[in-house]
């Protein structure tokens, strides 16, 4: 499936504003970014996999099962997919990317590598970070953006979802300082998106370092990650902003339940699988 080619019946996509208002240049830029990302993946992909699995000896519990489940979800889900992970470290998106598919899997099914929405002020002040974000399928977003800037970012997300691309968005809107899913002071960005695209599936993804876990900039060397995936389709009978809040709450509630499930388990399989 190539970018720009809708992989789902257009009737599944019912944005509130039916028309994409991005300029021709912006649409072409997104297409070019995807092509460049795929080309660069030949170099960046193995490098990232090497750094994660070999240099920092990160392992992921039940890696193969997680990848099988993700593959099955992409195959079976009808409608756009929004990946909604909890957020504890600065490199959650990278860990998530290497966990969800193999190098070859991402390259040959480039759609499986989700787009990310990094905070502009965190990653776009240095040219190298900027370049890596660009090549890593990222769209910068500005927290507290003006309506015009915000609408532009949302339009890009709409366009990507419409093209069958997968977007990863942290539903909490920030890293949880408490180390646990913040089900009180969280963002409503996911709710806004789900309200615009009611047929969107949400892939809730709970990930946590088993050895040290919690909030940190980077996972510890040799960390073993727990992953759990669950596909949900939030629905709400509310209208307007109440619907936005309700949809956001459903996603956070699911993530919280996954976290509680993890904490209740207590012990985990002894054998972790690496690259």
């Amino acid at each position: 499936m190539e970018f720009g080619q809708s992989m789902m019946p257009s009737m599944l996509l019912k944005p509130k504003s039916n028309k994409i208002v991005l300029s021709f240049f912006e649409l072409i830029s997104l297409k070019i970014q995807r092509i460049n990302s795929r080309l660069a993946f030949v170099v960046i992909g193995p490098l990232v996999h090497y750094l994660v699995f070999k240099r920092f000896r990160i392992t992921i519990e039940n890696l193969m099962a997680i990848r099988r489940q993700y593959k099955a979800i992409l195959k079976e889900a009808t409608g756009p997919i929004l990946v909604c992970p909890n957020h504890l470290t600065l490199v959650d998106s990278i860990i998530q990317a290497v966990a969800l598919n193999s190098l070859a899997g991402h390259f040959f099914h480039f759609r499986s590598l989700p787009w990310n929405l990094p905070e502009k002020k965190n990653f776009y002040h240095k040219i190298l970070w900027r370049l890596l974000c660009y090549l890593g399928k990222s769209i910068p977003v500005v927290r507290g953006a003006s309506p015009v800037e915000g609408k532009k970012s949302v339009e890009k997300m709409h366009y990507l979802l419409k093209c069958g691309e997968i977007i990863s968005i942290f539903p909490e809107g920030k890293r949880s300082r408490s180390g646990f899913v913040d089900d009180v002071d969280y963002s409503y960005a996911v709710g806004h998106l789900l309200k615009e695209f009611p047929e969107t599936n949400v892939l809730c993804l709970y990930m946590r370092g088993i050895k040290s876990g919690g909030f940190s900039n980077f996972p510890m060397e040799g960390e073993n990650f727990y992953f759990e995936l669950k596909l949900i389709k939030p629905e709400s009978k509310e209208n307007g902003l109440k619907k936005v809040r309700d949809l956001s709450k459903q996603v956070i509630t699911e993530l919280k339940a996954m976290e509680n499930n993890y904490l209740l388990k207590g012990s985990h399989a002894n054998e972790a699988v690496g690259w």
Binding site: G144, G173, D185, Y188, A189, N239, G240, L241, V244, R245
Partner: protein, 82 residues
Amino acid sequence: MNEQQVYEKVVTLIKPYAKNQEAFSTVSKDSKILEDLQVNSARLVDIILAMEDEFNIEVKDEEADGIWTINDAVNVIKTKIQ
């Protein structure tokens, strides 16, 4: 309910969500809710929903998008309760 009462009620509704509590000593109708009072955008949604409940009104999405200052909020409420 007159404009001053609506304004005071709006300020009361915003206060629990504002990170910059000191700004309330100089708060005015022109205070920007996100910037001056440091309310994040998700909490602004909570404030608008609280306004809906308080004044028994419904704020449309496009009206919510236009709420940047306390005065914007007061004006939206005023037009709906008249």
